[in-house]
């Protein structure tokens, strides 16, 4: 077996035989699911706050009813949003939404009311305004009161010279849910009163408030040539996801390579390797071995994602498959992955050849990681405004080309731009192979203290 393949095989086996590798492979999809589910779970597990509403004096008449009305309207709007979300999901997946059990409970809580109005404790209702009443309120908001009778907020409604006003006592100083709700309700009550004062029929005001316009979006670039559907937005989402996936894969692969070379350097294996194979063979073998690992990771993530998507939304899975295969996106993805990986892998390997500890590596990796943040920040901009000059310019920078061009793909950038940036990326990748080869050769036998200056000196000297 040739030396490069031998080194690649050892490199692959060294990682693929460890439990840690497979655990970390599964960790990404697991955390992706958790990342999406946790906020929903937190939101759905939020308690419905028990709120007592008290009108202070005759000038506040009707304000409690306005709060109650607002609460009813809020519940209606939540239900309407849930219905629309279900419709959109059905349209996208082609399957009726039939959530059940815990999921149904969680979504019902998500769409349900955030607060409920409870009867005012007689103690509070009977007490005159002042410090004594505030003391009773404090007691009802803390654990001095049994849990069953405890309140989350007490709202005193009144009316001053400007209009409706409120004093809100809340159990948690940082929770502004009740405050926000009361503000919106009172604003709505005030608007209604102003319009009524101007002689406008209350029914008209109510209908005007309930009105929700129906908006349809059309584009000549949509698949149908007319109305924009979920299918039209899918390529952009895929491009964006592809860009992030590329970034994760390339950085994961290059980091594995960095650690592998660093380990060989610190364990004094590199010198033995160099007596048996050329630096080019070693570098190529290691890059190839880790590339195979990266492909394993990609296939693992892709497989888990595909199975999950086919099971949950077969129609969407079909659309994604169609976009990736017939739209040519998969081909571009592979090309960007090869060029991007090559560029970063050889650079990271060269850095590893100078380092014996992670602390050594930080000296060089710090600035590199700062540069790597730029495409992450720019990718979201590429999704909404793919033709923005900054996005266009940055996508020509070889270090950013794989990620930004991937994100720009759905907006059909000119072919000349696509091919030009790709050619630049591959030319730069080859330059990096040459440059990093010299640095690798020099670093592997060097005991020199690592710095950008010594790194540049090693590249100039090429190990001589």
């Amino acid at each position: 077996m040739n030396r490069t393949l031998l080194i690649a095989r050892r490199e692959y086996a060294a990682y693929a035989k460890t439990v840690g590798f497979w655990l970390s492979l599964l960790a990404f999809p697991l955390f992706a699911v958790l990342g999406g589910a946790v906020p929903i779970l937190i939101k759905s597990s939020e308690p419905v706050r028990a709120v007592a509403v008290i009108e202070e004096g005759p000038q506040a008449n009707g304000l409690a009813a306005a709060i109650q009305d607002a609460l009813s309207r809020d519940a209606e709007r939540q239900q309407e949003r849930e219905r629309m979300a279900n419709e959109a999901a059905e349209k996208a997946t082609g399957m009726p939404v039939n959530s059940s059990g815990a999921a149904k409970g969680a979504f019902a809580r998500l769409a349900g009311p955030r607060l409920r109005i409870v009867g005012t404790p007689p103690e509070i209702a009977a007490a005159p305004p002042g410090e004594a009443r505030d003391e009773i309120v404090r007691r009802y908001l803390t654990d001095e009161t049994p849990k069953a009778d405890r309140l989350d907020a007490v709202v005193f409604l009144t009316r001053d010279a400007q209009g409706p006003a409120a004093r809100v006592w809340t159990a948690r100083a940082t929770d502004d849910t009740v405050e926000d709700f009361v503000r919106d309700a009172l604003r709505s009550a005030n608007r209604k009163a102003v319009f009524e004062g101007a002689g406008i029929d209350p029914v008209v005001v109510e209908n005007a408030e309930k009105f929700r316009p129906t908006i349809s979006v059309f584009s000549p670039k949509s698949v149908s040539g007319g109305e924009v559907s979920f299918r039209d937005k899918l390529p952009t989402l895929i491009g964006m996801a592809g860009g992030f996936l590329l970034w994760s894969l390339i950085i994961t692969g290059a980091s594995i390579l960095l650690n592998s070379v660093m380990e060989e350097k610190s364990n004094k294996i590199l010198e033995v390797l160099l007596s048996s194979a050329s630096p080019t063979e070693i570098l190529a073998g290691k890059v190839l071995g880790v590339a195979l690992l990266t492909i394993t990771v990609l296939l693992g993530w892709g497989g888990i994602g595909a199975v999950g998507l086919v099971a949950a939304a077969p129609e969407t899975a079909g659309m994604i498959g169609d976009i990736l295969l017939t739209g040519g996106m998969l081909g571009w993805f592979v090309a960007f992955m090869v060029g991007g990986y090559l560029m970063y892998a050889v650079l990271f390997a060269a850095v590893g050849a100078f380092c014996e500890t992670p602390r050594d590596a930080q000296t060089l990796m710090g600035p590199i990681m700062l540069v790597l943040v730029i495409p992450i920040m720019t990718m979201s901009m590429a999704m909404t405004t793919p033709d923005a000059p900054v996005v266009k310019i940055l996508s020509w920078v070889p270090f950013f080309t794989p990620f930004l061009m991937m994100a720009r793909l759905p907006s059909d950038p000119p072919m000349i731009e696509l091919l030009g940036a790709m050619a630049g990326m591959f030319a730069f990748a080859l330059f990096m192979v040459w440059l990093s080869g010299r640095a690798f050769r020099a670093g592997a036998l060097s005991d020199v203290k690592l710095s950008w200056k010594s790194f540049a000196g090693a590249i100039r000297g090429g190990g001589n």
């Binding site: 077996m1 030396r3 031998l6 080194i7 050892r10 060294a14 460890t18 610190s266 364990n267 004094k268 294996i269 010198e271 033995v272 390797l273 160099l274 007596s275 048996s276 194979a277 050329s278 036998l445 060097s446 005991d447 020199v448 200056k453 010594s454 000196g457 190990g463 001589n464």
Partner: protein, 320 residues
């Protein structure tokens, strides 16, 4: 004897630092050559040039008929000074891997690895991971990995460092075995006793320059023998004895002196002793000391091989 290795006027500079100066020597096929010198004398730099890992600044190196060690790397076995193997590999896999890099089929490498580990008393360790082995065991495994492909030329850089006396003896036997099988062995060391026991030839290096090239006996012959005498004797009385070139007082206690009488080249110690007794000198103890390679090294170079000569110029690679 045909030369397996020839170095001619080899120089190595790292920027302004001259690590190896005008080095020339030969190693005959099938011989064991000791490459001696203190740490920092230029041994590792020379070895790296021989292997083709670093180019010489000037001069010519020929190994196994090639002018570049890289061209014949499959015929060379190399054990570096600083050693390490993949910690998570088993000895058998590690040996087979390094053998395969030298062109040995993996299956054959595994078979030979098991056989050689067994011979070295490491049969029980063959399934363990490298990180579970003791330092001595790991070094033996690494040496096996360096020679599993049966190289014609074996280069060992400080192979005895870090080994206990028992393992050092075992390693000496392995080196003799390699030479007996026809391999040429070049090993560097700063411990002269190993070279004295093993080498057909030694090359002494000090501060990057060759100080001596020849057999161990030839090296020792360059150093003067001395007679150690203890008794109530005066230095002047001993200096007057035949064959004595100069006298040093090594110790003195209550009028009893220990004197070191250096003998002139070609002088016979027995004649000197005979003259001392016939002259009535009060000698209570005597010892005729042959010079060791260590003594020869000090005489030849003026350096102590146990002292570190390494110089690491700022901003340059370490030159050892």
């Amino acid at each position: 004897m045909t030369a397996a290795l020839t170095l001619q006027d080899v120089n190595k500079r790292y920027g302004g630092f001259h690590a190896v100066r005008d080095l020339s020597f030969e190693v005959g096929k099938g011989s064991i050559c000791g490459f001696l010198g203190p740490n920092g004398a230029g041994k590792t730099s020379t070895i790296r040039m021989i292997l083709g890992l670093q180019p010489a600044t000037s001069g010519r190196i020929e190994i196994l008929g090639a002018d570049d060690g890289r061209r014949v790397r499959n015929r060379i076995g190399f054990l570096p000074e600083e050693r390490g193997l993949y910690k998570k590999m088993t000895p058998v896999d590690a040996i087979a891997f390094f053998g395969a890099l030298k062109g040995l089929p993996l299956g054959e490498g595994r078979r030979r690895a098991r056989e050689m580990l067994e011979q070295q008393g490491l049969g029980g360790a063959s399934r363990k991971k490298m990180k579970e082995l003791s330092k001595g065991m790991a070094q033996k495994v690494q040496l096996i990995a360096a020679v599993v492909h049966r190289p014609e030329f074996v280069i060992l850089d400080e192979p005895f460092s870090g080994l206990d006396p028992v393992n050092q003896q075992g390693l000496e036997q392995m080196i003799r075995g390699l030479a007996a099988d026809g391999a040429t062995v070049l090993f560097s060391t700063h411990v002269m006793q190993h070279a004295e026991r093993l080498c057909d030839k030694v090359v002494l290096l000090a501060r990057g320059r060759k100080a001596f090239e020849g057999t161990v006996d030839e090296a020792k012959a360059t150093s003067r023998r001395f007679l150690e005498l203890e008794g109530v004797i005066e230095a002047g009385q001993v200096a007057a004895l035949p064959g004595v070139s100069n006298v040093e007082i090594a110790a003195e206690n209550d009028g009893v002196r220990v004197l070191k009488a250096h003998l002139a080249p070609g002088a016979r110690g027995q004649e000197t002793l005979k003259a001392a007794f016939l002259g009535g000198l009060d000698v209570r103890r005597f010892d005729l000391r042959e010079p060791s390679l260590h003594d020869a090294f000090i005489d030849l170079t003026g350096d102590n091989p146990d002292q570190d000569q390494s110089v690491k110029p700022a901003g340059q690679e370490a030159a050892r």
